[in-house]
């Protein structure tokens, strides 16, 4: 396609404007090798339509700002190449299950509230030594794939349960709960399991794997949820036996 162009069909909506209906607007963007969806959005906003709203910051798939629905699947605009998507129309939509502020920008408030619920901070089991707490490389490896979460919100938007149960903690919060459960330095496992064991917690997951498919960092929230379930059951048994 080199030197060609692509049509973007972008979701537009300003809920604050009375009577304004959500719509899609089309833009023609010149394509070169290496052009990302985020580059294209800047092209539109800076050269074609200054009213377009979207979020962006690091442009290197580390900050999670530019999560959106791109050409049929969720992704980060900054790490999605345009060329492989073909000439379009390439449809861009905001994250689902969250209130829209304008165009591609959603209110992440409800997402952060759920994250806050899992008490996302280390609760050390023992007082801190003078130097570092030691942790074997194998124990540290258990955190790989959990600490990489950039809290972009994609998994929770891709999750079908999130559409029917507003209170469902969702894959991102649950994956982060598992991050602390897996950490040998943490001493609050019981409490953490209690938090995720509720009706809007791990048992809500229908294991459809949408989150795992959608995660732009290749993480596996479903796997984390399954691990939490197994851990909960193991702890219940332990209590019975005791």
């Amino acid at each position: 396609m080199g030197g060609g162009s692509a049509t973007f069909k972008i979701f537009r909506h300003d809920p604050s404007a009375e009577g304004e209906e959500p719509r899609f607007q089309e833009y023609e963007v010149p394509v070169r090798p290496g052009l990302t969806v985020l580059d294209a959005l800047f092209y539109v906003q800076e050269r074609l339509d200054s009213s377009l709203a979207f979020r962006a910051s690091c442009r290197a798939a580390a900050c999670g700002s530019c999560a959106m629905h791109i050409a049929g699947g969720y992704g980060l605009a900054c790490q999605t190449q345009v060329e492989p998507l073909g000439g379009g129309p390439i449809v861009l939509r905001p994250l689902a299950h969250l209130p829209i502020i304008r165009d591609l920008v959603v209110d992440m408030g409800p997402f952060w509230e759920k994250y806050n619920k899992i008490r996302p901070f280390l609760v050390p089991g023992e007082p801190a030594p003078e130097k570092e707490r030691t942790q074997s490389p194998d124990d540290r490896d258990k955190l790989e794939g959990l600490i990489d979460c950039i809290l972009c919100g994609i998994c929770s938007s891709a999750c079908a349960v999130g559409g029917t149960d507003d209170a469902y903690l969702g894959p991102a919060a649950l994956l982060n709960a598992d991050r602390f459960v897996q950490d040998t330095r943490d001493g609050a496992t019981e409490e953490r399991l209690r938090i995720v064991d509720g009706e809007h917690g791990v048992w809500r997951c229908h294991t459809i794997f949408s989150c795992q498919e959608a995660c732009p960092k290749g993480l596996d929230p479903t796997g984390a949820i399954m691990t939490l379930r197994r851990t909960i059951i193991r702890h219940r048994w332990k209590k019975l036996v005791r």
Binding site: S50, S57, R59, A62, S65, D183
Partner: protein
């Protein structure tokens, strides 16, 4: 008007660390960030953070003083030595502390924090969390903030996400608060505080090719600069040798620390051909490697005249996946190249702002009540060239020091009655400025001004500089500043008006760019990252001093301050 004891501008590592410190001291904190804190640039830091822990088998004899020496030498002796010594001494303490808070560092076989070699360091002292150290540290500090917010007995800690600070309120010789615009609504409000911290990060995006987040416009430096606070050593701009060709996404120095090779178009490790890098090779400091790459480009030995190969293949897929998974992922996604199979095309790009808001060792600026920390500040611990792994350290060491200093400052401070009036006036001026941009129909297009600025900085204020280029650049930036006065925005909406926001920030970028060029033109020597082809030697007799740029109506007014020595004698810098 919103009111807090202390206002922190910036939710990156420096801002968050200061917030935690202030909260420990039971101070009411408001924290403003133009993006959600976790979207700050700091999350993109990859390679690691320096501390002389001696956890590496080759690190046994490392000490804080050796760390300090390497830092001073790396800075080409422009860093203030007492500040560097303090940073190096605090380093283990701060690293252990963030580990205690949960930072998931990689581990040695004995379970200690793992360390790797980094450029310019005598020992492997860079602690890391694979190659996502910034993300790991940011999450840890953000988690601590949530911990404080959820602890009932603690004082308030309010986060204002997506607010852009556009002005400062000054009452005589005192900072009386700040003025910010809510990006989501367009509302402009005054933020009353006894002390204000600027932890607003670097200004990389005044350049075309930068590894920095798109949001690093320099606006955070421009706000205090316009309020009369000098910017220090702005001419010192770090270029990183290995950024992905085209997008300039960083390929961390860890790639070279782990043993990667840099090759020219003939497949030759060209660093062997230059006296200042032939011994350390790929782990020579950044300024030296970047300069020798620029020389290869000039000599026609770069690939297609633009880039080089970073070859990791000999490390083997397993080591690449284990130690550099993030880099592998970036190379695959953004360049379509798996470094396990093929060399990665890299080129130098703007990376770090050594200069910044003039502050002393406690983070205090000359304006009473105004503090700065992190990349936005210049203490100075990085001098003319920052060593890899030292700026994450800078953020948490000086974030903590400054937080403590602010708590002390407000304890002994009585806010004069006049301060609120000054703040109300500043807020009114802020509102007017925004209304003017929205209302007036200036004919100048902000996007072309921005593009021309970035191009000018890249072409004329880059790795090699000379008088002709710098004079031309200064004239150009002034022309752009003049055009900026007639700028207009076409979209008039208040909710998430990206054009409005970036146009406001562009004004700040231009002021900062001008300070960089003016400092570079005046400094007639070569030191660290500042290489004047017309003055190729370091000149300690004339230039062992910091540049201070104060904003005057005609532009930056320069003055100078001696470097604080006291530990190490300036010597020639070879590796």
């Amino acid at each position: 008007m919103r009111s807090h004891d202390v206002l922190i501008v910036g939710g990156g590592l420096a801002g968050l660390r200061a917030a935690v410190e202030l909260n420990k001291a039971n101070v009411k904190v408001g924290l403003i960030s133009k993006v959600h804190p976790l979207r700050s640039h700091s999350v993109a830091a990859q390679g690691g953070i320096n501390a002389s822990l001696g956890n590496h088998p080759r690190g046994d004899y490392d000490t804080a003083m050796r760390h300090a020496f390497d830092t001073v030498k790396g800075s080409d002796f422009l860093a203030d030595q007492p500040a560097v010594v303090r940073m190096a001494k605090d380093a283990p303490l701060r690293v252990f502390e963030i580990e205690h808070w949960g930072c998931p560092f990689s581990r040695t076989d004995e379970g200690k924090i793992a360390q790797r070699p980094f450029g310019g360091a005598g020992f492997p002292r860079t602690c890391y969390a694979s190659d996502k150290t910034g993300l790991a540290m940011m999450h840890t500090l953000f988690e601590q903030m949530i911990r404080y917010q959820q602890a009932a007995e603690r004082q308030e800690l309010v986060v204002y996400s997506e607010w852009l600070v556009i002005g400062l309120a000054v009452d005589g010789d005192l900072c009386a608060g700040a003025v910010a615009m809510n990006i989501k609504t367009g509302e402009v409000d005054g933020f009353r505080a006894e002390a204000v911290l600027f932890a607003t990060g670097g200004a990389g995006r005044i350049y075309g090719n930068s590894t920095n987040a798109i949001i690093n416009s320099g606006m955070g430096m421009a706000v205090p600069y316009r309020a009369g606070v000098p910017l220090k050593d702005m001419e010192f701009v770090q270029f990183h040798p290995t950024t992905l060709c085209g997008s300039n996404i960083l390929i961390s120095e860890a790639a070279r620390g782990e043993g990667g090779y840099l090759l020219n178009k003939d497949g030759h490790r060209f660093l062997a051909d230059y006296p200042d890098s032939k011994k350390a090779m790929e782990v020579a400091p950044r300024d030296i490697v970047a300069r020798n790459m620029a020389r290869e480009i000039l000599a026609g030995r770069a690939v297609e005249g633009t880039h080089f190969w970073l070859d990791l293949r000999h490390l083997g897929e397993e080591k690449i996946q284990k130690q550099l998974p993030g880099i592998r992922d970036l190379a695959i996604r953004f360049a379509g190249i798996d470094p396990a199979d093929r060399p990665v095309p890299v080129q130098p790009g703007q990376h770090y702002t050594m200069g910044g808001i003039d502050v002393d060792r406690s983070g205090a600026s000359p304006l009473k009540g105004l503090f700065a920390a992190g990349e936005a500040a210049c203490v100075s611990v990085h001098g003319a060239n920052r060593l890899g792994g030292n700026s994450l350290l800078d953020t948490i060491v000086f974030g903590a020091i400054t937080g403590e200093a602010m708590a002390e400052f407000i304890a002994g401070h009585v806010r004069p009655a006049s301060a609120d009036k000054a703040l109300a006036e500043a807020a009114a001026r802020g509102r007017e400025a925004v209304e003017r941009l929205l209302g007036g129909g200036g004919a100048e297009d902000p996007v072309s001004i921005k593009d021309e600025m970035k191009k000018t900085m890249m072409e004329k204020v880059g790795i090699f500089r000379d008088r002709a280029d710098l004079s031309a650049a200064l004239a150009k930036i002034r022309e752009l500043k003049d055009r900026y006065r007639r700028v207009g925005v076409s979209f008039k909406g208040k909710i998430l008006n990206q054009e409005l926001r970036s146009t406001i920030e562009l004004g700040g970028s231009l002021d900062v760019a001008e300070a960089v060029v003016a400092g570079a033109l005046a400094r007639e020597e070569s030191r660290g990252s500042h290489s004047r082809t017309d003055f190729p030697k370091r000149d300690d007799a004339g230039w062992l001093k910091h540049t201070l740029a104060a904003l005057a109506p005609e532009g930056p007014r320069l003055s100078y301050r001696d470097v604080e020595l006291g530990y190490f004698e300036p010597a020639e810098r070879v590796y």
